[in-house]
């Protein structure tokens, strides 16, 4: 269980790690707006370069990012192919009844770049920010919603509990699967129905144990005085440095540049 999982926080001491989570969330929002509103290929390419520099700077191993990129390779391929084929325009070459158009290739490349940038940006955010800091940042930025009676602090608690328990649940489902398998259950049967049954036999014990877990967890939280009030402490540790401000200004300029060209 020691391999780095996709998007899981990896401890480090880089500048990117030490940035305020709010800065990182705001910058990611800028990135999303920037790349979705620009149709300029070179602008997007420059953006990609920027993110790659940031990844290099964060000390996150490029190999693990490359590996996680492979997880979305089919999505990227399909996006590109569909755009290339389905866009009207000047045909470059013909495959049967389908023609690949010049405009299609350009739009395909642009969307490909957009997806890659979105993916890398969010991975970088997740890998350099502890879930707790992330939820503190989100809580701070969303707290104004409290005024219209949306209990933001509950959502962020739920998010952080999910971060804590997803790996545990995965482990548990694997061990239930092993237990079922050792009693003769098959998960690779050619019959879909019997496969389905086997997976149901994992799901039900998993649900039952999650219920018990939730009960225990509620008791533990109660015992430690959880009151569901906004987590002032966690947010008080948020601190803006000069770097944070520079970075936000820089990203705002990059965003504006994208909107103008």
């Amino acid at each position: 269980m020691n391999d780095i999982k996709l998007g899981q926080y990896v401890h480090g001491n880089s500048l990117i790690h030490s940035l305020d989570p709010r800065t990182k969330i705001i910058c990611c929002t800028f990135i999303v707006i920037g790349i979705l509103s620009s149709h300029n290929f070179w602008y997007l390419l420059a953006f990609l370069g920027l993110i790659l520099v940031a990844i290099k700077y964060s000390g996150t191993p490029l190999s693990s990012i490359w590996r996680s990129m492979r997880g979305i390779r089919y999505l990227l391929l399909i996006t590109f192919l569909f755009q290339a084929v389905l866009t009207q325009g000047e045909a470059v070459f013909q495959v049967g009844a389908l023609s690949v158009t010049r405009e299609g290739v350009v739009i395909g490349l642009i969307n490909l770049l957009r997806l890659v940038i979105l993916f890398l940006g969010s991975i970088l955010l997740l890998m350099t920010t502890t879930p707790m800091k992330l939820s503190a940042g989100l809580e701070f930025l969303l707290l104004p919603l409290n005024k219209i009676k949306i209990p933001v602090q509950y959502f962020t608690t739920i998010i952080s509990i999910a971060f804590r328990f997803i790996p545990t649940l995965v482990e548990e489902s694997l061990s239930i699967k092993d237990a079922q398998r050792s009693r003769g259950a098959r998960f690779d049967s050619p019959k879909i129905l019997s496969n389905l049954k086997s997976y149901l036999a994992i799901l039900i014990p998993l649900l039952a144990s999650s219920m018990l877990r939730a009960e225990d967890l509620a008791e533990a939280m109660d015992s430690r005085c959880y009151g569901g009030n906004p987590n002032q402490y966690r947010m008080r540790t948020l601190k803006y440095d000069r770097v944070d401000i520079y970075l936000i200004i820089f990203m705002a300029i990059v965003l504006l540049a994208g909107l103008l060209i």
Partner: protein, 276 residues
């Protein structure tokens, strides 16, 4: 009025067709600074008792008072839970946060302490359980024993006056078990925290100054370890064996030796006998 008081406490659970009596007519008082051991086999009601102490469960009859505050009154629950911390038996289900450090900060945060104070307490608690180097780890990557230590630290960081531990050593190997018990003894002596240690293993409770033995929901025996463990017949009747040290003392006394002092380890006893 400081201390923990249970006045004629009973707890029944409603089951499908009848009532299950988990505890019946429990009376005892625990003073601040004591080290209490609660001993009992499975199903004897130990965990139910722990849950009653901080108001997670309400007694069916009787009253539970913590520093004079009744666990029945909702307004005082937060104060009661600040005073009395519980370490639960299953560490996997009581760790809430995705990072060890934040886990330990969870309780102090909820008490509304200043960030610097929270930070100080986190470091202190980690040091006590010897887990400083695990500060930035994810709890699910720790071993069972390490998780139990983190669970202990996260309650310690709230600096409760009373610390209740429900089978805290069930996943520990003998070495870490001794370590944790040693920590508890230190916390009791140096920080004057009241320790209430619940276990089914008599060896775990050697450091306690007073033992309460539960059997089928009632108090079966009470007294100093010497008194309780000395009565091998009565203890054996409910399926409990005294620790090796007390068995040894018993055998020596049967052979005609007089052992007057209190001993905590077998080497101490051997030394004393050799001096004679």
């Amino acid at each position: 009025m400081d201390g923990i008081q249970l006045i004629d406490v009973s707890k029944e659970f409603k089951t499908a067709d009848s009532y299950k009596v988990a505890l019946s007519s429990i009376n005892f008082t625990i003073h601040e600074g004591e080290y209490i051991g609660i001993l009992g086999l499975n199903q004897s009601g130990k965990s139910t008792l722990a849950r009653l102490l901080n108001g997670l469960l309400k007694p069916t009859r009787g009253r539970v008072l913590i520093n004079g505050m009744d666990t029945d009154s909702p307004q005082q629950l937060k104060e009661i839970r600040q005073l009395l911390g519980i370490v639960f038996p299953n560490p996997d289900n009581q760790l809430i946060c995705p990072i060890v450090e934040e886990e330990i900060a969870f309780g102090p945060e909820n008490l509304g302490l200043s960030p610097s104070e929270v930070h100080k307490r986190v470091s202190w608690a980690l040091e006590i359980v010897g887990m400083q180097e695990m500060r930035n780890h994810a709890p699910h990557l720790l071993s069972g024993g390490q998780k139990q230590k983190v669970a202990l630290a996260s309650v310690l960081a709230m600096e409760p006056s009373y610390l209740v531990l429900d089978e805290p050593t069930s996943m520990l190997d003998p070495l870490s078990r001794r370590e944790v018990l040693e920590h508890l003894r230190m916390i009791n002596q140096e920080n004057h925290m009241t320790i209430i240690l619940i276990s089914h293993n008599p060896e775990d409770l050697m450091d306690a100054k007073r033992l309460i033995v539960l059997n089928e929901g009632s108090i079966y025996m009470q007294g100093t370890p010497k008194e309780v463990y000395g009565d091998m017949g009565k203890l054996g009747a409910v399926g409990l064996n005294p620790p090796g040290l007390y068995q040894l003392i018993q055998q020596l006394e049967e052979e005609g030796y007089r052992i007057d002092d209190n001993f905590e380890t077998i080497p101490q006893l051997v030394e004393k006998i050799c001096q004679k």
